[in-house]
């Protein structure tokens, strides 16, 4: 971690007070669980949960040429989305390897914000600053800024999360400031937001103004709430004081991982890294074919898939773990596990893996095995996601 000290989010003291099991993750002391990963997971699927995700990074991109900048740095058609909308995209290196996966928020044609993985904030910021410098040398007007330390980020997820949020807010639908942000468009009411849209609201009793997006990383209906860092504790405690509205529980990173994995959402460092290209990861739909972006040229030369991401479940009870080997029916190694965990919703072990031989036909992979510390556990390919609650999720 760049020989720097482990950081704490504004909520570290609250997590410790609640007796959370604290672990180091992406350079931060974060709660792994408060009581039980399984209980927390199931509560998000059934009711609602609140996550401290203030460790995630936020990078703003501003200037007259911000639109051409975001279109060049990110793989998706970012500038084409509307103001108040969000798009999922990748950042690729020149070879087409994945530097990070991000969401990009559009405030206007000359102002965007990327929300990036905590583990990649430094790397991403160095990368976009490098591109910014190239742009500026060509006389373009664009400035990137890492505002991660200024922002507290809470995520409220689950089918009942609206029962918590709606009664506690009043909408701010005017053009102008919204907490740390400047809306140059008139935002929608929070209730009217569709998936991947954002607006502005005030939490009435505590007078905290926040940017609220309809987004998340659980496969459930939910919100992400951006507040000034110094307001994070107030808002966290206020939402938990109102937990009876939605049977809200605080949720740690353990359940964040099992929830995202059941929804088959990729995690950087597991399904994604710089040795993996978007085709390997099955993310080609996030590549624009109408504009140029960094890495696009290299991707043209990737004709054959070198590896392929598959999802599987186990009939046994042992849990597959990252980097364990995948063996075919003749016990020949054919790949490595990306993610492996226990599925609390299904009550069996699940995983994802990169199968290294492009010639392996996945439908032929009827019988294959995971080498779990010398035990060859039988696995079966399944088509993701492992859990579907998308009626409410989108």
């Amino acid at each position: 971690m760049n020989n720097s000290e482990t950081k704490k989010t504004p909520l570290y003291g609250e997590h410790a007070k609640m007796g959370a099991k604290i672990v180091e993750f992406a350079g931060f002391y974060m709660p792994l669980y408060y009581k039980s990963i399984i209980e927390e997971h199931l509560n998000v699927r059934k009711n609602s949960g609140i996550f401290d995700i203030s460790h995630m990074g936020e990078i703003t991109i501003k200037g007259k040429d911000a639109s051409s900048f975001v279109d060049y740095v990110f793989t998706a058609d970012v500038s084409k989305i509307g103001r108040g909308e969000i798009v999922y995209a990748l950042i690729l290196n020149e070879k087409g390897g994945i530097i990070d996966d991000v969401t990009v928020f559009k405030f206007s044609d000359d102002e965007y914000m990327a929300v990036v993985n905590a583990s990649n904030t430094q790397k991403d910021f160095a990368w976009v600053r490098h591109v910014q410098n190239d742009f500026q040398k060509k006389g373009k007007d664009v400035t990137v800024q890492n505002i991660s330390d200024d922002i507290g980020l809470l995520s409220v997820q689950g089918p009942k999360s609206r029962d918590l949020i709606y009664p506690l807010i009043s909408d701010v639908v005017k053009i102008g400031k919204c907490g740390l942000f400047d809306f140059k468009f008139q935002p929608k009411n929070i209730k009217d937001l569709k998936h991947f849209e954002f607006g502005c609201a005030i939490f009435k009793d505590v007078n905290v103004e926040a940017m609220i997006s309809r987004s998340g990383y659980t496969g459930e209906f939910g919100f992400e709430i951006f507040v000034p860092a110094e307001k994070t504790v107030i808002l966290w405690n206020y939402l938990l004081q109102n937990s009876n509205l939605s049977n809200l529980l605080p949720i740690g990173l353990g359940a964040r991982d099992t929830l995202r994995f059941e929804a088959a959402l990729p995690l950087y460092g597991h399904e994604l890294d710089e040795t993996i290209n978007p085709y390997d990861a099955g993310l080609e739909k996030y590549l624009s074919d109408t504009k140029d972006f960094i890495g696009k040229e290299a991707l043209k030369n990737i004709k054959n898939k070198e590896k392929r991401l598959i999802f599987f479940k186990l009939s046994g009870k042992q849990i597959p773990r990252h980097s364990q080997r995948i063996l075919d029916e003749n016990l020949k190694p054919i790949g490595c596990i990306a993610s492996g965990t226990y599925s609390p919703s299904n009550k069996f072990p699940i995983g994802s893996a990169y199968i290294s031989d492009a010639g392996v036909n996945v439908s032929y992979l009827k019988d294959f095995f995971i080498d779990i510390r010398g035990n060859f556990e039988k696995a079966e390919v399944v088509s993701p996601p492992f859990h579907k609650n998308f009626k409410t999720g989108k």
Binding site: K21, L32, I37, E39, G254, I319, T341, Y342
Partner: protein, 131 residues
């Protein structure tokens, strides 16, 4: 002198206890289960097998991690707690009771005297918590 009903702990967080019927049981400590989190699978030791102190006798998997179970003293496995096959969460709920790992034979009571009693173990666990 080993007291029936008392628990004796190893540095790797297993316990041994002598029942009123002169049988011994082993398991993992409450501290160990709370560090592991939700237990979802237990690989139990082999019945009838002799294990030396500190030998690996099994594995416990939680959602997040896997950890090994070691023999707290030289012992022979008489029977295992097969309830753990279907309800591994017993280890979280009742680690020193219904969540025991196995019933064992121990030839030397004096081996147990080398372990920590409950008071000493409490201090030991608290210090490992803050490592």
């Amino acid at each position: 002198m080993i007291k029936s009903g008392s628990f004796y702990f190893s540095k790797s967080h297993e316990w041994v206890s002598k029942g009123s019927n002169d049988k011994y049981r082993i398991g993992i400590s409450d501290f160990a289960q709370s560090e592991l989190g939700d237990v979802v699978y237990v690989s139990l030791p082999e019945v009838g097998k002799n294990y030396k102190k500190d030998a690996k006798i099994g594995e416990i998997e939680s959602v997040k991690s896997v950890s090994e179970i070691y023999a707290p003293v030289d012992l022979k496995i008489i029977s295992v707690n097969s309830k753990l096959n279907d309800t591994p969460e017993l280890i979280n709920q009742d680690p020193t009771g219904n969540g025991f790992i196995a019933e064992v034979e121990i030839s030397n009571d004096s081996d147990i005297e080398g372990l920590m009693d409950e008071v000493k173990y409490k201090t030991f666990a608290e210090s490992s918590h803050h490592e």
